[in-house]
């Protein structure tokens, strides 16, 4: 299954979840947020939120700014 993660093409096994993406990215447990197809995926739902084939995934954090 293909998804776009932060603008890059990823191929993942069917049934992968948001959590799988974050695991691959080895993101820390805090300071991170995820959007799929323009909607926030709350941390509590990461494990049980399947990736939609072709989904646009954004993994974000806080940086210096403003």
């Amino acid at each position: 299954m293909n998804v776009l993660v932060n603008g890059e093409q990823w191929v993942l096994p069917a049934g992968s979840t948001v959590a799988d993406v974050l695991e691959r990215l080895a993101v820390p447990s805090t300071g991170v947020a995820v959007a799929m197809d323009g909607a926030v995926v709350p941390r509590a739902s990461w494990l049980r939120t399947p990736l939609r084939p072709g989904a646009l995934i954004e993994v974000l954090t806080a940086v210096q700014g403003g």
Partner: protein, 253 residues
């Protein structure tokens, strides 16, 4: 000398200087500047995670007990800003947001229509909304009426260092404000931060003036002192302006 705390949305702050983290040349300089500024609240942007690494800024803030305030910098529409605010809330576990909806890259001025729209949506969604706005007293009033926790009018466009372009507008905003007024953007030097407070603002938010100064920590110190100076001057009740002179020594015999 004693002063009341700044209160936004029921929360008290001892410092009336909010320092943005953008533009710093290094994390070390940023840290020194934040400490010199004695700020308790500081803005951060929400961006893609390049690697698995989290940028050091959150750890830096946590280490010093400085509260991060996520912004929606770079958003051009209400929809973008709302999503970015929600992601910031998710990432930082805070319902506070510095709302920015700019119209273009050249002026970075807020788009009044999109800004008000986004503010209304975010207030409905339970956010504590601190909107970066222009110096229009009418828009400031509408943002406050929409439930924003403060209004943050600009002095002049972001990063210009032109100071407070229209003090009369700031005075009009202050004179009728039902929420705290934070002078945001345009400040270039300490006397302008002091002036903002003398005009009646409750706090000052700035980044570039400190982070891009030749000596950021010293400019942070200057801004901290300038904000305090202006605050005390406002409370102390300045002398009236007069056209002719008035002697400060008694007449000679």
């Amino acid at each position: 000398m004693a002063d009341d705390p700044l209160v936004i949305a029921g929360r008290e702050f001892g410092s009336r200087l909010i320092l943005g983290t953008g533009g710093a040349g290094s994390m070390a300089l940023l840290e020194q500047a934040l400490l010199a500024a004695q700020t308790e609240l500081t803005t951060v942007a929400i961006r893609r995670m390049d690697t698995g690494e989290r940028t050091g800024v959150l750890d830096l803030l946590a280490r010093h007990g400085i509260e991060p305030l996520p912004n929606t910098a770079g958003c051009r529409s209400a929809a973008e800003a709302v999503l970015t605010a929600q992601l910031g809330r998710e990432a930082l576990a805070t319902s506070w947001v510095k709302l920015e909806v700019v119209a273009d890259d050249r002026t970075l001025l807020p788009d009044p229509i999109e800004l008000l729209d986004a503010a209304e949506q975010l207030v409905d969604d339970g956010f504590t909304v601190l909107p970066y706005t222009n110096d229009d007293p009418v828009l400031a009033r509408r943002l406050a009426d929409a439930g924003c926790a403060a209004v943050m009018p600009l002095g002049s466009p972001i990063g210009t260092g032109l100071g407070i372009g229209n003090p009369h507008n700031i005075e009009m905003i202050v004179s009728e404000a039902q929420v705290p007024v934070v002078l945001d953007a345009g400040i270039g030097t300490a006397s302008e931060a002091a002036l903002a407070m003398e005009l009646g603002c409750d706090a000052v938010l700035l980044a570039t003036a400190v982070t891009r100064a030749d000596d950021p920590p010293r400019m942070a110190e200057a801004m901290r002192l300038g904000v305090q100076a202006g605050r005390h001057a406002r409370l102390a009740g300045r002398i009236p302006r007069r056209f002719w002179a008035q002697a400060s020594s008694p007449a000679r015999d």
